[in-house]
Symmetry: C2
Subunit: 139 residues, 2 copies
């Protein structure tokens, strides 16, 4: 149980399935930052079987589609890195021209100060967004 | 034709398929950095149909499997960002404990100087690796 994603949800739990879960990451500056976490402890995407990979990426795509439809972001960013927490999880991040790092990756240096008014406006949509994401993944 | 990935391969072309291609990115400091580029100009992963997404991710997984088997990296990093070049491409990066950024993402700040001897040793394997990747994607 030394792995944090085996021990904890890893963020705000939005939906829990048999094979994977969706959490909202609660990363400062990026309100619409979600993660699909594979429930079992595997390190690499290719540790999954092909049907498991397809199941995983279908969940990622569904989350992406909801974020695009609801938020009209400038871009969606997807990534599975896991250098520090080698338990398979996919970052799904709605990016906006106003965010502190755009167009750089969220892991790079900030390009500008945070826009707290824009962040607050986005945060006001999160309860409804979370509920829609949970419904979509349940279908 | 303002999009660089519509105009050019985008790196060293390793394999060209009907729907997608594999290039080696030739990014300084990261010799085993490849990209699967979707040939048609689409911005987001979810712009693809489900069968297209599965085809795309099967290519990504095959590349990942070859990199793992041949190089035994500390971690594979996968990402599709496209904030600056919004033409769908997947970064597939073999990461090593000796690389300048590990365990940070390659887009973050360096953690240490580059290890040119380790990079050179890895570069000596690239011709064979490229050939094996091309054979694997052709099967």
């Amino acid at each position: 149980m030394s792995c944090v994603l085996c021990r904890e949800a890893g963020g705000q739990l939005i939906w829990q399935g048999e094979k994977l879960r969706l959490i909202r990451a609660q990363e400062a500056g990026f309100p619409a930052f979600y993660r699909i976490v594979w429930n079992a402890h595997v390190a690499e995407f290719s540790d999954l079987s092909r049907p498991e990979r397809e199941h995983c990426m279908q969940a990622v795509a569904l989350v992406e589609q909801v974020l695009r439809a609801q938020l009209a972001p400038a871009k969606i960013n997807l990534a599975t890195l896991g250098n520090m927490v080698p338990h398979l999880h996919w970052h799904i991040i709605a990016r906006f021209a106003w965010d502190s790092h755009f167009p750089a990756p969220v892991w790079a240096s900030a390009q500008r100060p945070r826009d707290l008014a824009q962040e607050a406006a986005l945060e006001r949509q999160l309860a409804q967004l979370d509920a829609l994401l949970a419904r979509t993944l349940s279908e």
